[in-house]
Amino acid sequence: MDTVKLTIDNRAIEVPKGTTILKAAQSIGIDIPTLCHFELDGLDVHNRPGGCRICVVEVEKRRNLAPACVTECMEGMLVRTNSIRVINARKTVLELILSDHPADCLQCAKSGNCELQDLAIRFGIRENPFIGAGHEMSQYQVEVSPSIIRDMNKCVMCRRCETMCNEMQTVGALSAIERGFPAVVSTAFNQHLELSPCTFCGQCVAVCPVGALTEVDHTPKIIRAIADPNKKTVVQVAPAVRVALGEEFGMEPGSIVTGKLTAALKALGFDYVFDTDWSADLTIMEEGTELIGRLTKYLGGDKSVPLPILTSCCPAWVNFFEHQFPEMKNLPSTAKSPQQMFGAIAKSYFAEKINCKREDMVCVSVMPCLAKKYECSRDEFKVNGNPDVDYSISTRELARLIKMANIDFASLPDEKFDSPLGESTGAAVIFGATGGVIEAAVRTAYEVITKKPLPKIDFEELRGLEGVRSATIDVDGLKLNIGIAHGLHNARKLLEDIKAGKCQFHAIEIMACPGGCIDGAGQPLHHGNSDIVKARWEAIYRADREMPIRKSHENPSIQAIYKEFLGEPCGHKSHELLHTHYFDKQTTVEVDLGK
């Protein structure tokens, strides 16, 4: 590889051609401050507008300062990252940014986890000449949706959210609007997120360096519910939460904290601590059966069967196709997501079991996701206005609850989930990573179709972090073509190929977030450190390996509920409780016939 030699702060280094000054400096331990710059290596996430100008450095013979994040190293370059000129410029630029940013850090959801606050601390900002009489501050309406709060007064125009929404997710809900001082990232006509094609994937929130985009906080409602003696609180925890929550308490990324998590939820006072993994196994039963059903019909000669079958566990993905590909809404599995299956069972089967009225049960989910908040608010998941899942909180919100309750998380003894909705398999854990749902489905489908035990349980060919993957699984002679996409831009690619008849998949798994739920928008913020995401990914598969049972259909509690309550997968009761339907949400412009 071609290299270039240069000097940074009097230290000679050699780096591959094309390396930015920022990366080169990082490689020798020089930490140039940044704000707008954001990258997730290996996950195809890049935001390099070179706009905030915090990272400027002095390059000899250059007229002005150079942004380190986008300036490539050149042979013989002499770079100074800490001259008086540089420090003064960075500090002044920071003062400018802060002069158009509310100083309400004490009440800000991002306080303590804010990249701008970190910079203010680092530069020791004590007073600001650009605040006060005669200096205008931006004034925008704060907007609250079921999942996301947008307070654009705090926006620093790093454009990370715009990049995620348009390039990573190709959702197009957000764009920079206006210009100059009033320029900001917003929806079309500043309309409400719910009127936009927003999927509530929350990737904008996951990357926002400040408190401009945050999740709707349900923790106060949960505290109230727990404290209410007339309410039974039931909590479920999604697979990806157990491999990330530890980070919030100083544990190594990739620590599996299932036992402590259970203990913490019990310590918080939830009446029943269950596992979404349980309903993930249930999902496999329903979705797997649906897949087998469609396949059998198709192979039997009925070419009108909608194929490929698409997974439907990811609520952001569901929103995506409802908005962008409504004409394909017959393709996804009608199976509800594990969160909603859990809610439906909890408020029927389980409520009956403990003799609790539906209205008296508060069903809470802990999710690595912000779209889950939106999902549980959808009308079709309510019975007489009462939602199957009352509140969905993120991994971060749970961490806050634990901290608030002064629970010493790291030293908690491991505890087990309650029964009956707490028993699960390794197939359910891997729902948390891209490719996991389809792998779990294949494990079950294989044995159901062939009636033979799997020769090898690990389908390595379905794993990985590449955006689009495909594999052909030999199911005893039947070649099953599987597609996998994560990140909605990859999903779009696959959908367009399907539309154009360019690919012949039988089943496709789609997850909205890059990497799957492990990098969901509700997870602890990784601030662009992709090693964290990779550690969670590894932990998911480790957790799978550590499970005694690794196939959903072998989950005894699942077998029991079919026997006891549901009958058979995709049967009458299942359809009533565990399946749903989709809507066309695309905005269309029609002729006004009114006048």
């Binding site: 348009n166 959702v171 197009g172 809900a173 957000l174 764009s175 920079a176 609007i177 206006e178 210009r179 917003s186 929806t187 079309a188 006509f189 719910e194 009127l195 936009s196 094609p197 959808r378 009308d379 809507f583 066309d584 949400k585 695309q586 905005t587 269309t588 412009v589 029609e590 002729v591 006004d592 009114g594």
Partner: protein
């Protein structure tokens, strides 16, 4: 949540679709499409932007991002007699601000507003290139040069009379 349906007049819809088609519905032609549409309608209301987004297969937010970026595009209809005061440098140093103030007073409008009867709208522009006539104002396509604040009432009255005699 229900599907969002935006309504508009048949002839507007047909014309906008025709404009988009004339540019092969290419996303790169957005600005040309917006120009043609504004030529036709006089402004770019939200529903028209939705339709353009649909035709060109780009997010509505991006269309709005472009419309709100460029000064030439407007989402409010202009008056029948749009008044534009040049605030280019040449006009500025020859007292354009006073001319603008006089128009504001005479029309009782702020910059960017349209009168309630829809007759007048007031805007600023940067250099019409008639610097020799500075300060300059335009009403529609007609240029008024070498203005003094005292001329303003006469100009406005010219159009008021036109309207009264119409």
């Amino acid at each position: 949540m229900d599907k969002i349906i935006v309504k508009m007049k048949k002839e507007v819809r047909e014309k906008v679709v025709e404009i988009c088609n004339s540019f092969n519905n290419q996303p790169g032609e957005l600005i040309n499409v917006l120009h043609k549409t504004q030529d036709f309608l006089g402004y770019l209301p939200a529903e028209v932007q939705e339709l353009i987004a649909e035709c060109l297969h780009i997010p509505t937010a991006k269309v709005y991002g472009v419309v709100s970026f460029y000064a030439f595009f407007t989402m409010t209809p202009k008056g029948k007699y749009p008044v534009s005061v040049c605030l280019g440098t040449a006009c500025y140093v020859r007292g354009a601000e006073k001319i603008l103030d006089a128009f504001k007073k005479e029309l009782n409008l702020e910059v960017g507003q349209t009168s309630e009867d829809g007759l007048f709208s007031l805007n600023c522009l940067r250099c019409v290139g008639a610097c020799g006539l500075a300060p300059v104002a335009m009403v529609g396509d007609k240029v008024y040069g070498r203005l003094t604040p005292a001329d303003v009432k006469g100009i406005v009255d010219e159009y008021r009379n036109l309207e009264a005699n119409a």
